[in-house]
């Protein structure tokens, strides 16, 4: 059974792109809001834990409705948690300095899985203009030529996509025209992997009181 913050997901969706931040729009089995002092929540997805932050929540008809984003939500393009950064110039610095400052300003944490080869690269100069953290982060990723995503532990990873092999069981439906395969997963299905020879560009979980379905969209 999928849960968020310890509460069962009654219904809703979890959208997970291969790169970038996942988000969930759900109704939870709770009649009160999650404590505002605790914004970070865990999404238990068939044994796979995803760490994110509650962006919005509210109780309606005795049911908690919430939107949760992966990580701290600081570098999402638009959202209640989106942060801004000030202008700052760097000169002759390793990438890790610029990335570290960027993520710190956005309230995010760098993933330990990020390859050191990316972090040790040198930048002769880097000018960060003031604006949203998401725009500044994207500019940095474009300049470095790297992809990024929110890891299951909520940290931010960036580097080259590797598309590791993964398995998915109990295929229910295959839509070749749209490149979508629907599963009744018995284990978490994550994007950025290769399933049955197909690169999974996104996974959309749909929760109902009767079932959990995972749509794997081909990249």
């Amino acid at each position: 059974m999928a849960t968020i913050g310890g509460f069962a997901i009654l219904d809703g969706t979890l959208q997970m792109p291969a790169f970038g931040a996942w988000s969930a729009q759900v109704r939870l089995d709770s009649s009160s809001e999650l404590p505002t002092t605790v914004r970070a929540v865990s999404v238990d997805l068939d044994g796979q834990t995803l760490v994110g932050t509650v962006e919005r929540q509210g109780v309606y008809a005795g049911v908690l409705e919430a939107r949760v984003v992966g990580g701290a939500g600081g570098i999402v393009p638009a959202g209640a948690l989106a942060r801004t950064v000030t202008a700052k110039a760097y000169r002759k610095v390793p990438v890790r300095i610029v990335v570290g400052d960027m993520l710190s300003s956005a309230g995010e944490v760098l993933s330990a899985a990020t390859a050191s080869s990316f972090l040790s690269g040198q930048l002769a100069a880097w000018h960060r203009h003031a604006g949203t953290a998401g725009a500044a982060w994207r500019r940095l990723m474009l300049a470095l030529g790297t992809a990024w995503k929110v890891q299951p532990d909520g940290s931010i990873w960036f580097g080259s996509a590797t598309w590791p092999s993964a398995t998915a069981t109990e295929e229910l439906l295959r839509d070749g025209g749209h490149g979508v395969v629907t599963y009744s997963p018995d284990a978490a299905l994550l994007p950025g992997t290769t399933v049955n020879g197909v690169r999974v560009g996104a996974v959309v979980y749909t929760f109902t009181d009767a079932s959990v379905r995972a749509e794997a969209w081909a990249a």
Partner: protein, 227 residues
Amino acid sequence: MSASRTRKAIEAIVDERLAALGLLGSFPATVKAQSSTDGTVDVKPDASSVPGAKGVPLRPGIPGVTIRVPAGARVSLSYEGGDERKPVATHWESAEAGTKPTEITIEGTTSITVKGAGQEAAEHLLTLEQLVIILVALLDPTLGVTAAMSTPITWKSVPAPYPDPTAPIVTELIRFFTLGLPVVAPLPATLAAAIQTAIAAQPSKPHETPGLGQLVPGFACKGVKSG
């Protein structure tokens, strides 16, 4: 989601995607300091959204030109190719009192031509020695030029009687072209004025030297033209 939140979300995505366009512009800035070693400048942009930066390379716009400016000079900060990794300082504003360049150097491997309306070009010679040969002859008409124009001679090989090399006009003319030799007197305002001064100090008869052409007021001399 309300219409305004939808609009905000779309705008944020568009802004994120199109952020690069904003970097194609130029940002007015003030020079805070200039490096004495590589000529790069430290700048403070007028807009608070643009970071102040150190060590920004200059792009004067003309190859072979180097510029030294005081703090307070106004310049535009740009990014080559809209790339935040490539800031450059270019497009200087008209200099106000106190912000004019302290030094402008123009270097050409063959020649540098400066031309004004109604005037012939004043052309710098390829070698200092060639000009010194001419000027020594101007200063002392009794001296003949025995070396061909294309053969450089050193200062020391010029025979006596020879103008005192420390004499103001000679020394200043050397300094004008070499920019570094000791100065013993104020430099005349222009090279033309210096040459005219030298001419005025000589006997009135015209002096003709093989290979040098004929000396006339406002003279034209092989390899040297003066407007």
